[in-house]
């Protein structure tokens, strides 16, 4: 895989076809339509309809044994009226904010080193690949692999004990909020590195040289040239990280050991206790929040214009 194969979010509209005689126009219009039809069909059946089903069921009534078709706002009233729900939403937002801050700084730094500090083209591509490969392996295995590292008798605790830095094992390492944030960073930092690296590779190197020639220091070059020109990459990475952390439930369940909650986990729990309408109302609220956050990101950074 070369750089050309890395996923780049290109929001710019594809170029329209050149002007063709009117006679062939009609026939050619049909071809792209048929080419796009399978994609449209699958997204309608497996995305649009299911989201519709979610919305409809969120107004249904239910008791301990069945779901009763109805049109009522009880589920929403329960979601928005419960203090537990509010706390869970706030906790999810807190995780999102922390993970976003950590992954954007880390992702930016790693992408910067890859794009500007590694001079050989081959080394650059090999290192980029090395940073991408874990994305293609199992997330659950990657989470499990922290257990021997962070556990009570894990590598980190035993090393610190041996060095005499601590007297008894640190308990907060595994099954805690710390472990959750660490796992998120481990899983999702790549989603920051890849788009930021892609936009950085498009920055004209002469701009940096010009800045240096004009007496700007390294830090000034970063803040006035590299960061503004990498904005669209940072925005795309942020969209990925925000949506994945907001909707996650596996990481919180595995890494917090049941000590922390997230909206996704709350939905998963409602599903397993067969409270489908409640889960759906929660899902609709979550989706609304996620979409608002993305709209906010797109408002700050216009990806369309910058790509």
């Amino acid at each position: 895989m070369t750089q050309d194969d890395t996923p780049v979010l290109t929001l710019a509209d594809p170029a329209p076809g050149g002007s063709k005689p009117m006679r062939t126009r009609r026939r050619i219009q049909l071809v792209p339509f048929m080419q796009a039809a399978p994609l449209a069909l699958i997204l309608c059946v497996f995305l649009l309809l299911p989201m519709g089903a979610l919305l409809v069921v969120s107004f249904f009534d239910y008791d301990s044994v069945q779901i009763i078709p109805a049109f009522q706002f009880t589920n929403y009233a329960e979601v928005l009226g419960s203090a537990v729900t509010w706390r869970t939403y706030l906790n999810t937002l807190r995780f999102t904010a922390i993970v976003w801050a950590v992954t954007s700084v880390l992702g930016f730094t790693v992408a910067y080193v890859l794009a500007f500090e590694i001079r050989s083209r081959t080394t650059q591509m090999v290192l980029f690949l090395v940073c991408t490969v874990p994305f293609l392996t199992s997330n659950i295995i990657r989470m499990i692999s922290w257990i021997p590292f962070l556990g009570r008798e894990g590598l980190l605790n035993s090393t610190l004990l041996k060095l005499g830095l601590i007297q008894k094992p640190l308990e907060f390492l595994l099954f805690s909020d710390f472990a959750v944030v660490l796992a998120y960073t481990h899983l999702y930092a790549l989603f920051m590195v890849t788009p930021i690296f892609n936009t950085m590779m498009r920055i004209d190197r002469r701009l940096l040289e010009a800045a240096l020639d004009n007496g700007a220091g390294w830090w000034r070059t970063i803040t006035t040239i590299v960061i503004p020109l990498s904005k669209s990459g940072i925005a795309i990475g942020s969209i990925f990280v925000v949506t994945m952390v907001m909707g996650d439930f596996v990481t919180v369940r595995l890494m917090s050991g049941g000590q922390s909650a997230s909206v996704g986990l709350m939905i998963a729990n409602q599903i397993s206790s067969l409270q489908y309408p409640a889960a759906c109302a929660n899902a609709v609220v979550l989706l609304a929040i996620v979409l608002m956050m993305i709209a906010a990101i797109l408002r700050i950074v216009d990806i369309r214009k910058e790509l």
Binding site: M1, P7, P14, L43, F46, Y112, H186
Partner: protein, 268 residues
């Protein structure tokens, strides 16, 4: 801060990041070779392949063989569909057509709607229609909503850099649209098509949240592994982790090898 010192710091950040990415996985790789009396953490209590053997005892793992076969078949189905559908759609998106704007928005939405919601929605839809969810029907569709956007975005990246002069030359020489696609476009974009295949396969093979509520009664491998995390407290879990990670690496290396061979062929 001198420039050399800064460079050393930055390079070590990259080094530590790579260690952070791979360190834990390497740890479980080593620990999966624990002796028969070894536990979930260091020290190593002997060295054996005992836990790999345990994988094939049904009481240790629910249904390892069955779930592996299901995951492999599903990943292959998803891979083929993702390549064909996103390649076709990628060709279509090279020009504006009726509905191209909304379809593009829908594709991006597919990427950002949390997986658990897709899973729940597809599950509800199937029960509303009176259909039984199965890994080859509902889970297959739910996974496509995750792999297709990636496939299409890769196609966009490819066609943004694609030189149309090649196609025009083919057309001028009298090639039909299909001939120009088959003999000109496809060979040029082949490395990216392999990339889409790789994404489609591995994303499906490791997918958890979208399969959870859509796979019906038979588990795929990630679901089986997730089930094990709560019940299994022996290194057999690591053995399974090592095995699936090694498998993913083989798939990645094979794809890279194919891309290299294609590049070498073109250079001649």
């Amino acid at each position: 801060m001198t420039a050399t010192f800064r460079r050393a710091v930055l390079l070590s950040v990259l080094g530590l990041f790579i260690l952070f990415l791979y360190g834990p996985t390497l740890t479980i790789l080593v620990l999966s070779f624990q002796g028969p009396d070894g536990g979930l953490t260091f020290p190593m209590n002997g060295f054996s392949v005992h836990w790999f053997g345990r994988l094939f005892h049904t009481q240790a793992v629910g249904d390892f063989g069955g779930s592996l076969i299901r995951s492999f078949s599903l990943a292959t189905m998803v891979m083929v569909s993702t390549v064909v559908i996103s390649l076709a759609a990628g060709m279509a998106f090279r020009r504006r057509f009726w509905g191209s704007g909304p379809l593009f928005t829908l594709t991006v939405a597919s990427l950002i709607i949390p997986s658990i919601l897709v899973s729940l929605g597809v599950g509800l839809l199937f029960s509303a229609l009176g259909l039984d969810p199965n890994w080859y029907s509902s889970a297959f569709g739910a996974q496509l909503t995750w792999t297709l956007p990636f496939g299409l975005l890769i196609m966009f990246a490819v066609f943004n850099r694609f030189n149309r002069a090649w196609e025009e030359a083919a057309r001028d020489q009298g090639a039909t649209p299909w001939q120009s696609f088959q003999h000109v476009v496809l060979p040029i974009i082949m490395p990216s098509v392999i990339g889409i295949a790789l994404f489609g396969f591995t994303l499906s093979y490791d997918e958890f949240a979208r399969t959870l509520l859509t796979s019906g009664s038979d588990n795929t491998l990630p679901l089986e592994i997730f089930g094990m995390t709560t019940s299994v407290t022996t290194p057999v879990l690591y053995a399974l982790g090592t095995l699936t990670t090694v498998f993913s690496f083989i798939v990645i290396l094979v794809s890279l090898a194919i891309v290299r061979v294609l590049a070498a062929k073109r250079a001649i």
